[in-house]
């Protein structure tokens, strides 16, 4: 049964109020980015200053302007680009190539990414073994660190992880904003369940074959990070597949549809993380009386979490990534962030600021390291002519 909620929200706040609200964020991000230590070296100081100003500037604008997605997107997209940049440079520096040799696989030196998590769960439970050639602790992107980050983020922001922390999501988010208008509008509704089908298949196949099957066969982001060296027919076919998936799901379809095709129609990690929306404190609600059913929110939702059905129920589906785009585009300001357990329409502005504090803090801390590293590398390139230290 639909409960009427009345959302009384004004876009934005005066600049002085936004500055006051920003102050604690600035202190926290300064401490967390610097690690509580004095920053030495002019390159690192410049990189940290630029990173600090960039993220806090975006946070300030989010509060002052009142729009969420407008100011989240630049940080999220840049994070994806710079992560790939720093990752590739690091791989070239450490081993001289983007491609992985069998020797490196046997040494268990492969950086772990969060997308592998669903495939590791059943083998860990049944055989106490991790089917990934990475380091459990220490090193670059260890298994334990990614598990901790993902679990913490899920508890705190649910599938907001996919819009605020995932260092791959910015790719198709960026390409989805390329065109002015979508060329392809009618996506078959059945396809929105594809991520769950992919999740089921990769989890079961990984358990049976004791191999991270998504990583081995399907991950499109190997095109911008690392991949197995092409030394035989099988590796060549795998390469063709992941490059095709990257071009199709991350570039072409997002440009044509203006939606995040990889995240909304394929990613198994997104499907698994969707379940955390059921336990997370924040969700996205719709004031059904204020709503004029223009459908603008559903047409703009990047992951197909809004439809006539969900709008009528007054809430986004469990696949909502909490990016704030629907909130920004609604002409009647009928959509807002909401804390579960509170009455509908309860302290909407406070809830928004609380949600943004959490998400921006996470984003700054985790993406900040990548930004600092990327800026340092670029400064090193300018001063020494080399990206390597």
């Amino acid at each position: 049964m639909n409960k009427h909620i009345h959302i009384d929200v004004q876009r934005g706040m005066p600049w002085w109020k936004a500055m006051l609200v920003c102050l604690p964020m600035m202190v926290l991000t300064f401490v967390l980015l610097s690690g509580g230590k004095a920053v030495t070296g002019w390159e690192k100081q410049v990189a940290m200053a630029v990173t600090f100003l960039f993220f806090n500037g975006l946070f300030f604008m989010t509060l002052k302007d009142g729009r969420t997605d407008r100011w989240r997107a630049p940080a999220f997209i840049l994070y994806a680009l710079l992560l790939s940049f720093t990752f590739i440079v690091h791989m070239l520096e450490a081993r001289g190539a983007m491609s992985l040799s069998e020797a490196k696989l046997l040494e268990c030196q492969v950086p772990f990414c969060h997308v592998v998590i669903p495939m590791t769960l059943v083998p860990i439970a049944l055989k106490q073994s991790i089917i990934f050639p990475g380091q459990i602790v220490g090193g670059y992107a260890s298994i334990s660190s990614m598990f901790v980050i993902w679990i913490t983020a899920c508890l705190v922001m649910g599938r907001g992880f996919c819009s605020w922390l995932c260092f791959f999501g910015g790719w198709d988010d960026g390409f989805s904003r390329w065109a002015k208008k979508p060329r392809l509008r009618n996506i078959p509704p059945i396809l929105k369940w594809m991520p769950f089908a992919v999740l089921l298949v990769v989890v079961l196949s990984a358990a049976v074959f004791l191999e991270p099957t998504y990583c081995a066969w399907l991950c499109p982001f190997k095109a911008v990070t690392e991949y197995e060296a092409v030394v035989n027919v099988r590796a060549l076919l795998q390469t063709i597949v992941f490059v095709s998936l990257f071009v199709g799901l991350v570039i072409v379809i997002p440009i044509l549809t203006k939606r995040r095709a990889q995240c909304g129609l394929f990613c198994p990690m997104g499907a698994l993380t969707s379940f955390s929306n059921k336990i997370n404190a924040f969700d996205v609600r719709i004031d059904t009386e204020r709503c004029v059913k223009c459908g603008l929110c559903a047409r703009n939702c990047p992951v197909f979490a809004l439809s006539d059905e969900t709008i009528a129920k007054g809430r986004a589906a469990m696949t909502c990534v909490k990016c704030g785009k629907c909130i920004d585009v609604c002409p009647k300001q009928a959509i807002s962030y909401h804390i579960k357990g509170t009455p509908p329409g309860w302290r909407v502005r406070f809830t928004r600021v609380l949600f943004l504090y959490i998400t921006f803090l996470f984003l700054t801390v985790f993406a900040g390291g990548t930004f600092v590293e990327a800026i340092r590398r670029l400064l090193n390139l300018i001063t020494t002519g080399s990206l390597f230290y």
Partner: protein
Amino acid sequence: MSVVLFLAGRLMGYLLFGVLAWLTGRMLQKELPEWESWLFAVVYIILAVMLLRYAWHPGHASCTMKSHARWLDRFKRMHLLFPFLGGVLIGVNVCYPFMLAFTTAAEQPNLARSLFFFIFFYLGTSIYLLPLPLLGAFRNKTALRAIGRLSAGLVGLYYLYSSTIIFVEKVTVLWFSGGG
């Protein structure tokens, strides 16, 4: 209790076929060692295409929830042994996913792996039957059906893909060894 016995019977049916699949694989290895991988590749391609067709047009009655529900309802009222036997019979109904699973299990190097594979096949196909945690999130049967169809399509594509690789690898080896 009837439901538990039914599910146990279904698992037993799958495990029995796991054993049969492994024995079939061993027999092929012994009798046709040169043709074994070609045979598997051909069978995979045929079954993968059939599975893709099934995913596109889900009309195969014996694989659907409706037929299972009818049997389940009937056995609830019968002697305890019957739900178990019913489960065994339902478990061994020969549909495209089952034949693909049989073929894969026949390829496994040892009996344990064949049985392990069939256990996971059982879990994967039980999505409509088991009260799995989090399935409450899919109260909507349309969602479950959609996921089932899409999963079948993905598995079909996987088998088509992997059997194509077997063919390409074998042809490449034959080509470079001068067809010898």
